[in-house]
C-alpha cells in the first residue's frame, strides 16, 4: 500500500471525497442561503430598508415576537418540568413518555394545524361554544400560538433529558439530605448544571417558533397586518411577485438561523470543555 496509514485511503481518493463533500454542501446548502441575501439587497439598501419598515411587515414582526415569547416561555417552563419528572424519578412507562414528548417532530406541520382547526374552528368540537362566547382562536393569534407551541414542544425537553439523565440524582439527593427544599435544589443545584443545554434548547425553540410556516399557515387565516407572521408575510409578498421585498423580510429569518448556528457552535465548544 502506498499510503503510510493502513486506516486511510489513497491521497487522490481522499481529496476526491473531500471535494465531493464540499461541492454537495456548497450547491445544496450554502448557495440558497447566499441567494436570500443577494435577492434581498438586489435593489440596494434603501429598497431593503423600505421593505422592512412597511406597516404590514412591521405588524408581522410584532405578531411573530408576541407569539414567540409566549410559546418559548411555555415550552421552557414545561420542558424543565418534563425533564425533571423523567430524569429524577423511576416509574413505569418512562420511555413511552419520552416517545410521546418527541411526537410533534414526527407530525407534519400541516396535520398539526388541521388538528387545532378540528378542535377550535367553526366546524370543530369546541367551535360553536367558542363562537357563542365570543372567543376567537382559529384565524387569530391564540390559534397561531397554540400551533407554534405544538411544533416547538420537544425542543427544550429533549436537550435537557439526556444531560440530566447523565448527571444522575446524587447531587440533588445530597442537597435534600442537607435540608434544602425542592425549589432551592432546582435553583441552586440542578439549574447551574444544565444552564448551557437549557440555553441551547431555548435558542432552537426560539428559531423554530419564529420561522414556523406550515402549521401557522393553516390556522392563521392570512389577514394582512393582523394574523400574518413573518414567514406568512414572506409567502404573500412572494406570491404577489414582490420578490425583493419578500427576500428582504426573509433575510431576517435567515439572519436568525445564522445567529442560532453560531450560538450553537459556541455553546458546543463550552459544553465540550467540561463534559466530553
Amino acid at each position: 500500500m502506498s499510503d503510510p496509514s493502513i486506516r486511510s485511503e489513497p491521497t487522490a481518493v481522499k481529496w476526491a471525497i473531500i471535494g465531493a463533500a464540499a461541492l454537495i454542501v456548497a450547491l445544496l446548502v450554502i448557495l440558497p442561503l447566499i441567494n436570500v441575501f443577494a435577492q434581498a439587497f438586489s435593489k440596494g439598501w434603501e429598497a431593503y430598508a423600505a421593505a422592512l419598515v412597511d406597516p404590514d411587515a412591521l405588524a408581522a414582526i410584532e405578531l411573530t415576537l408576541i407569539v414567540t415569547v409566549i410559546s418559548v416561555a411555555a415550552n421552557t417552563a414545561m420542558g424543565l418540568v418534563m425533564a425533571w419528572a423523567i430524569t429524577k424519578f423511576a416509574f413505569p412507562g418512562k420511555s413511552f413518555l419520552i416517545t410521546l414528548i418527541d411526537l410533534p417532530f414526527s407530525v407534519s406541520p400541516v396535520v398539526a394545524g388541521l388538528a387545532f382547526v378540528l378542535l377550535f374552528g367553526a366546524q370543530g368540537y369546541f367551535g360553536p361554544w367558542l363562537i357563542d362566547n365570543g372567543w376567537k382562536i382559529i384565524f387569530a393569534w391564540p390559534g397561531i400560538t397554540l400551533a407554534t407551541i405544538f411544533v416547538t414542544f420537544p425542543f427544550v425537553a429533549r436537550e435537557l433529558i439526556p444531560l440530566m439523565q447523565e448527571q444522575g440524582t446524587t447531587e440533588e439527593e445530597a442537597a435534600v439530605t442537607l435540608g434544602a427544599g425542592g425549589w432551592t435544589v432546582f435553583r441552586r443545584v440542578t439549574l447551574p448544571n444544565i444552564k448551557w443545554a437549557l440555553l441551547y434548547g431555548v435558542l432552537l425553540c426560539n428559531a423554530r417558533a419564529m420561522g414556523e410556516f406550515g402549521a401557522v399557515s393553516v390556522v392563521s387565516g392570512h389577514v394582512r397586518g393582523e394574523t400574518n407572521t413573518i414567514p406568512l408575510q414572506v409567502e404573500i409578498l412572494y406570491n404577489e411577485y414582490q420578490f425583493q421585498a419578500s427576500f428582504a423580510v426573509a433575510s431576517l429569518l435567515a439572519f436568525l438561523a445564522i445567529v442560532t448556528l453560531l450560538a450553537k457552535s459556541l455553546l458546543e465548544a463550552r459544553l465540550g470543555g467540561h463534559q466530553r
Partner: protein, 290 residues
C-alpha cells in the same frame, strides 16, 4: 450535545433508585401528562375522532380518489427517492468530516445544520429562485433542457435539501466512536481497504445509516414550506399530500382534509415505530452508550 432533530430514545436506562428523596414527583409528572395531553394528545385524538365519524364508504371514496392517491404517491415516492439520495450524499459528507482533516472542516460541519435552522418558507423561495430558468443554477440547466423549478424534480431538490442533516448527524457519532483496531486488524490480516470498509466498517454503521434514511424520509413526507414554492403544485403531477390537505381545508371540504391528514398521521406513527426499532438495533450492534 445531541442534535435537536434526532430522537432522544438512546438513553442509558440505568434508572435512579426506586424511592427517591427528591421532591416534586407527583407535581411534575402530573403537569407533564396534563401539558402533553392539552397540547399534543387531545388535538391528535380529535383528528382521529373526526375521521372515525366518517362513514366507511365515504372514507374509502376520499382516500381512493385519483387526486388523493396521486398526492400521496408523489409525497411518499419522492420522499423515498430523496432519502435515498441523502444516503449517498450523507455518506460522502460524513466520511469527509469524520475521517479527514482539511482546511474548513469545522465550517463545513457547522453548515450541515442550515437546512434544519433555516425556516422552511425561506428555504422554499430561495431554492425556487435558484432553480428557476433565470436563476443561478437554473440558467445553467436550461440550455441542457433540464427544468427543475415547477416540476417534480424541484420537489425532489427541496426534499434532498431538508433531509441532508438527518443522515449526516445520525451516522457521524457512530463513525466517530468506531473502534480503530478492528480496521487495523482487518488490514493486518491482508484485507484491502475496500474490503475492510465493506466488511468491517459498513456493518457497524449500517443501522445508523438506515435510521438517518428513515428520519430523512419521515421529515420529507410531512414537509410543506420548502416544497410548495418550487413544486408548481399541478394536481396529480406535482401536488404533495400536505398541500392537498390545505387546499381541501380552503374549500371547506373538512372530511377530505381530515381523512388525508389521518392517513399521514398513521404513516408517521408507523415510521416512528420503525425508527425506534432501528435505534435499538444500533445500540445492540455497537454497544454504544451515549
Amino acid at each position: 450535545m445531541a442534535e435537536s432533530y434526532l430522537p432522544v430514545s438512546h438513553l442509558p436506562t440505568a434508572a435512579p433508585r426506586q424511592k427517591s428523596v427528591i421532591p416534586g414527583f407527583g407535581l411534575t409528572l402530573g403537569l407533564t401528562v396534563l401539558w402533553l395531553s392539552l397540547v399534543v394528545l387531545i388535538p391528535l385524538a380529535a383528528l382521529f375522532l373526526k375521521t372515525a365519524e366518517l362513514p366507511l364508504d365515504r372514507l374509502v371514496a376520499i382516500l381512493t380518489a385519483p387526486r388523493t392517491l396521486n398526492a400521496l404517491k408523489i409525497s411518499f415516492g419522492l420522499s423515498l427517492v430523496a432519502a435515498g439520495v441523502n444516503l449517498v450524499f450523507g455518506a460522502v459528507v460524513v466520511w469527509a468530516l469524520v475521517r479527514y482533516d482539511f482546511p474548513g472542516r469545522r465550517v463545513l460541519d457547522a453548515l450541515i445544520d442550515i437546512p434544519f435552522a433555516l425556516p422552511t418558507a425561506v428555504a422554499g423561495i430561495a431554492l425556487t429562485t435558484l432553480y428557476a430558468e433565470n436563476g443561478w443554477i437554473g440558467s445553467w440547466l436550461a440550455p441542457l433542457g433540464i427544468k427543475v423549478a415547477f416540476t417534480p424534480l424541484g420537489i425532489l431538490i427541496a426534499l434532498i435539501f431538508i433531509g441532508l442533516p438527518f443522515v449526516v448527524r445520525t451516522v457521524q457519532p457512530v463513525l466517530e466512536d468506531l473502534d480503530h483496531e478492528l480496521e487495523e486488524a482487518a488490514a493486518t490480516l491482508g484485507a484491502g481497504r475496500w474490503t475492510t470498509i465493506r466488511r468491517v466498517v459498513l456493518p457497524a454503521v449500517l443501522p445508523a445509516f438506515l435510521t438517518g434514511f428513515a428520519l430523512a424520509f419521515a421529515r420529507a413526507v410531512g414537509e410543506y414550506g420548502s416544497v410548495i414554492f418550487i413544486a408548481g403544485n399541478l394536481p396529480n403531477v406535482s401536488e404533495i399530500a400536505p398541500l392537498l390537505i390545505v387546499i381541501r381545508l380552503e374549500e371547506f371540504r373538512y372530511a377530505d382534509a381530515t381523512a388525508i391528514a389521518a392517513t399521514m398521521l398513521v404513516a408517521a406513527f408507523a415510521l416512528l415505530f420503525v425508527i425506534n426499532g432501528l435505534q435499538r438495533w444500533q445500540e445492540n450492534r455497537t454497544g454504544r452508550l451515549k
